[in-house]
């Protein structure tokens, strides 16, 4: 049974149709990369999954159960689904440790000592154990993003969402975050990433989803999609990215 199933999701903002009858199902341990132009609906789709946006129609099933729209239902859902944002969204008034333990102690009722231990563990996983007492403002973008990943990871979610988490980073800081993502994938985390990192998608994603104007146009293994796009939209998209530099031309076969 798929861990997440989206059936016929539609969403519009005013006259703009963000999502048009989108359906997708994801298995446990699957890594899904969603690509597409700005405005193609990628972020809207992600935000519908953990309840940040409410679809106009369609249903979302997590673990086979319909997602409950009540406050308690959403809180229960968000204990299982974690999200990392493009602009990190760390809490600036708390230390790195505080950022991580807050959700554990308040939302999950974990005792403080155990929460701190878990904080150390996840920080070790992202390579920032020595920054446990630091204040977010003092960290680089790449470090803040890794803390954001650790914060989400500490809640032990069964599914993690990533919304263009490298797009706001200086190029030299992207690598350290990608490394963490690759490790998460190898460790078996179920991940859905909206991303522009084609290299990562090719290497680590099980499934590539190409969205265009609110609909899924192509879906399948990245190697197949990059080498032989079926739709002209995807072909154009790949062409548009290619001039970005020879360093990613190897991605496209």
């Amino acid at each position: 049974m798929p861990i997440l199933a989206l059936n016929g999701i539609s969403k519009r903002f005013g006259t703009h149709i963000a999502l048009d009858d989108v359906s997708l199902s994801i298995e446990t341990g699957e890594v899904v990369a969603i690509i597409g132009r700005s405005g193609s609906g990628k972020t809207s789709l992600l935000r519908c999954i953990n309840g940040l946006e409410v679809p106009d129609s369609g249903e979302i099933l997590f673990d086979g159960h319909r997602v409950e729209r009540s406050r308690a239902g959403l809180r229960a859902l968000r204990r299982e689904i974690g999200i990392v944002f493009q602009s990190f969204n760390l809490f600036p008034h708390l230390t790195v440790e505080g950022n991580i333990t807050l959700g554990l102690t308040e939302a999950k009722g974990v005792p403080l000592e155990e929460a701190r231990k878990r904080a150390r563990d996840v920080l070790r996983q992202v390579g920032l154990e020595d920054k446990i007492g630091a204040v977010p403002l003092r960290l680089s973008g790449g470090q803040q993003q890794r803390v954001a990943i650790a914060r989400s990871l500490a809640m032990q979610p069964r599914l993690m969402l990533f919304d263009e988490i490298t797009s706001a980073l200086d190029p030299e800081l992207v690598g350290e975050v990608i490394n963490v993502l690759e490790k998460l994938a190898t460790d078996g985390m179920t991940m859905i990433l909206v991303t522009h990192e084609m290299g990562f998608a090719r290497a680590a994603a099980d499934t590539l989803v190409f969205m265009h104007e609110g609909r899924i146009r192509e879906k399948g293994p990245p190697s197949r999609l990059f080498a032989a796009p079926v739709t002209t939209e995807l072909a154009n998209f790949i062409d548009a990215i290619l001039p970005a530099g020879p360093h990613i031309s190897h991605v496209f076969g």
Binding site: R75, F85, P92, L102, M155
Partner: protein
Amino acid sequence: MNRTFELSEFLFVAAAVRWTLLLSLVAFLGGGIVGLLIAIMRTTHNRALRLVTAGYIQLFQGTPVLMQLFLFYYGFAVLFDMQVDAWPAVALAFTLYSGAFLGEIWRGSIQAIPRTQWEASACLSLSYVQQLRFVILPQAMRISIPPTVGFLVQLIKGTSIASIIGFVELTRAGQLMVNVTFQPMIVYPVVAALYFAVCWPLSLLSRFLERRIDADLGIKRHL
């Protein structure tokens, strides 16, 4: 028999500063509690609460303080057919007045916290109360300190209006001394100087804190 304004007259006036400060403190603390409730109610999803508190704020910010005092002191005495002492009436009026202004300041501070902080804390499955308590209010309080101190100055100055209904604070003490010495051109500047001595340091503190917090947040601001 005329007295001239000498040391004992000055001391009488200076001693009245404590009533000004006491009234300001009571109104500030009471208004703080009211203001916090109002700020939270102004930022909930409940439309009715938002409208009611908006009306409350509009009422106290859109009418003269003197009128509010008259209503509480003379008006309510007749309404409830009881003797209203100056202290409770004045304290209540200034508390509600402060509550409106502080509520508006703190509402602004809460709304200045980016929506992304609400989202990030919600996605950690925190409840609304937990979001306010651990993420939003701590940040909002910090940026609200300069305007809050600024309002304290406004409040201290505002208490001078209580003199009009005979409440004895600094301004009233000055009036009493003028009645006795017939030297308004000495007494009132002295009264003004005493207010200045209290208010100016607070104004400077407010501006200093604002610069400090802006620097921390990495913002450059024209002052």
